[in-house]
Amino acid sequence: MNLPSTLIYGLLLCVLMVCAPHAAHLPSWVSVESAALLGWCAYLTRNKLALPARWLLGALMLGDVIGILASFHTLFGRDASTTLLILLTAFKQLEVRNLRDATMTIYLACFIIVTNFFYTQTIAAALYMLATLLLIVTVWLHLHGDTLPLKARLRLAAIMLMQAVPLMLVLFILFPRVQGPLWGLPQDAYGSSGLSDTMSPGSLSKLSLSDAVAFRVTFNGEPPRHTQMYWRGPVLWKFDGKTWQAGRATSAQAPQLDSLDSASDYTVTLEPHNKTWLFTLDMPTSISIPAQLTYDFQMVRTAPVNARLRYNAHSQLGYRANADEDPRQLQRALNLPPNLNPRARQLAAEWRARLPGDVAVVNAALEHFRREDFHYTLEPPALGSNEVDDFLFGTRHGFCEHYASSFVFLMRAAGIPARVVTGYQGGEYNDLGGYYIVRQSDAHAWAEVWLKERGWVRIDPTAAIAPARVQSGLVAAMPDSAALPFLARMQSPLLLKLRFDLDALAFQWNQWVLSYDPERQFALLTRLGMESVSLQQMALDMMLGLALLVGLYTLFMLRRLQVRDSDAVQRLYLRFCRKLEKTGIARAAHEGPRDFAMRAAQAQPQQAAAITDITARYMALRYGKAPDPMALQVLRRMVAAFRL
């Protein structure tokens, strides 16, 4: 190995640092193996042993490829290729023999940093990236400037990166953004945490354990009450006894909405969830981006939301929705799987026979939930094949999906058209940012029943069991021991404030850094006064900005090469001679400084001391060994003060 061992350690440290954040999501055997490979390399370097044979590495690598295939069932896609890249890089360390291999490692390390952004793009990730880059550039400098001490390399690396920051900003702001993707993405390219288009027992309670932000909302005007914040997501019609699904529409009737009450105008910043639906308050009327309002009042886009999305929407909080619904749709809202849940059917039939009118049946069902011994819990017990019966007459412990599901079942059994609506309920106000945060833990399911004259009416059976859930969120509705996400639990006021501040910071970060897309770019450039935001104009401005900065850098960087201290000394002396020359004492060409000083001192006896002193200092600076840098300053001051 002809590379110095300190350089090898540096490279290993780079690889370790870029791979470390991946440990969170890599299969554990990959993390362990990569660490072992790096350790092996460090051991060989330390003991000056030969690197392992290529065939051995090849065989090990082949085994790993098979391992990846077994873990991911593919070699492509985000996770599998990242894993492969990390393993390859770790293997590469065991055959770093020359400068080229070392350079390759540096490039690979840079690439691995990018792959980390698939998983996280937080402020912390950005800071970590900067630290990693500093290390990488420092090690890189070692390749081509091995005579520099470590401290000097670190300093130079920091300077180089800092010089690049303004240029990077110009590029970041002005580089024409293209809306991706450029090619088809593997399915796992985006995280898809969030609501799904089906609902079965346990699906929402599982989601409620996540702190992840679903979206953030800024209200333009008075925000609605917490109990009115129902963020509408997928509407589910079809029940097979276990799972609720959207099903197929039997009518293409357009949605009709008569407004009864106040409207709300708000802006949502939606986190990517890889699904087509957008969340709006019950019931949406308009939206600022291209999207369609379906017959059951869902806002749906054609393309999945795979990047953070901002939109402005308008909703009616009091409404009459589809008062004259298509009978075929109403029929759909009555379908039940045959032969299941006989006891629930019986209960519903009982209510139907006993009570006059649909409203009374609805109230009876809610009253039933309230009166009987029902419990609201995140960890409901498992249910058998007659799920609704088991829940209503057996376990009686459930989360919102259990209540919504059994309520709709009861309604349909009683002949009242009903459907399940999933989405989010509530939100947490952040007073620093002035917006609401809706998290995955706010996921919710409720019901809608269709009543004559009134259309679809929202009924939330969960509110009957745990009113606090709807009034102030999940935390209030749960006993302390419940397995709630860490952040959702009440903290000390200080922690709570810190949490809100951090979230406000993250919000700004998301707004200005992460969601800087073609749209935001356009908005920013217009606000900055660019008259016509065209591709050419942006490219032109970008080039101009870069050229300007590089020009400034050039001036600054080459400045210190032109200063010559010996010249400065000479200039000062010549200035001193000119001053004397004005009084008629000109220095002859043959005259050395000492002779000239003697002559000048005789001619100007009152300045003799100054003349001798200046000359002595000049000679010391000009001809002496290792002149004191301060001496030049002194000479400058003395020449400036010299008067005749």
Binding site: T103, L133, W140, L161, F172, L182, V513, M557
Partner: protein, 324 residues
């Protein structure tokens, strides 16, 4: 046609000319292109950018732009590492053929920034690497093998640097009028020829050196053995003891006396004799077909003789070309 144009372009761009004195590396003389690994890095950046666009990775954009601009800025760093260096050719001490000529160059860095990893090499890739601290000079010795006797030129040299990240290659050409005298390679040991005044035993008494006749001032080339150290100790300056030399004990080294078939071998034998005669402390003169060096003794005489041998038969035009 194309080759001619290319040659013309190169001539225009690089302006090959032999220079003397101090050469300051300015922007006119420094060329800079990306290296192979620089191009490779550009490829990596393009891949990264495609990934960023495709996956909407905002931080990826930040990283890509940061790396990209750092890389571009290293062009300035590389250029700065070289610009305004002052290069001056130094003396190259004469060597025998087969040895290595050390061409000395003085590189001065007048600026306030240190320069790193500068490499000086000739067209056969014989190289030397050096750093220069701020406001310092270094003496760079470029070892070039001396194959044949005569004047050896360093030829066109390249000074280059790839500091700091090896992404850009900045270089400058210069051809100095510096040259190194290469003596003929001395033949293997051979007895000295007979003295002109005696029979050829090859043995001489050196009594002539023992007759002290006085002191004279030191001249460069005087052998240190004859310096009057006592006089120096008396602070009388450097003086050299003079001895009477005796007539008839003079060794004439003649080209025709050398027992060899051709001139080059004869010169080699003469070179050996010059060294041996000097070592033996003899008075010796050199007689070549058009040069005759009167007998003398000392370093100066030795150099003079070897120089005559080195340049023997070299046409005046070659010499003249070498002088200019």
């Amino acid at each position: 046609m194309l080759t001619a144009l290319r040659q013309q372009f190169r001539t225009w761009l690089f302006r090959p000319q032999i220079e003397s004195g101090t050469v300051t590396l300015n922007q006119r003389r420094i060329f800079i292109v990306p290296t192979r690994s620089g191009l490779g890095f550009a490829g990596v950046l393009v891949l990264m950018l495609l990934g960023d666009i495709n996956y909407n990775l905002s931080l990826g954009y930040v990283l890509t732009f940061l790396l990209g601009t750092t890389a571009v800025m290293t062009m300035l760093h590389t250029f700065r590492n070289m610009v305004r260096l002052e290069v001056r050719a130094g003396r190259a001490d004469a060597v025998f053929a087969g040895e290595t000529a050390q061409f000395v160059f003085h590189v001065h860095n007048a600026g306030a920034l240190p320069r790193y990893r500068l490499i000086l090499h000739d067209k056969n890739q014989r190289r030397v690497m050096f750093d220069i601290s701020a406001q310092q000079s270094v003496e760079v010795k470029l070892p070039l093998p001396a194959a044949r006797r005569g004047w050896q030129h360093a030829g066109r040299l390249t000074l280059y640097t790839e500091f700091p990240l090896g992404l850009f290659h900045a270089w400058s050409y210069f051809e100095f009028d510096t040259r190194c005298l290469v003596y003929p390679k001395p033949a293997t040991s051979l007895p000295l020829p007979a003295s002109s005044g005696q029979n050829g035993t090859g043995k001489f008494n050196v009594t002539g050196d023992e007759d002290f006749s006085g002191l004279r001032g030191y001249v460069a080339g005087d052998t240190p053995q004859r310096i009057a150290w006592k006089a120096l100790a008396r602070e009388q300056g450097l003086q050299v003891k003079q001895f009477n030399t005796q007539q008839g004990q003079i060794l004439w080294l003649d080209l025709y006396l050398a027992p060899a078939p051709d001139t080059e071998h004869r010169l080699a034998i003469l070179a050996r004799w010059v060294l041996d005669a000097e070592a033996a402390g003899l008075q010796y003169g050199l007689r070549l077909p058009c040069v005759e060096l009167p007998p003398d003794h000392g370093i100066a005489q030795r150099e003079e003789c070897l120089r005559a041998l080195a340049l023997f038969g070299m046409s005046d035009s070659t010499l003249a070309a070498a002088e200019t």
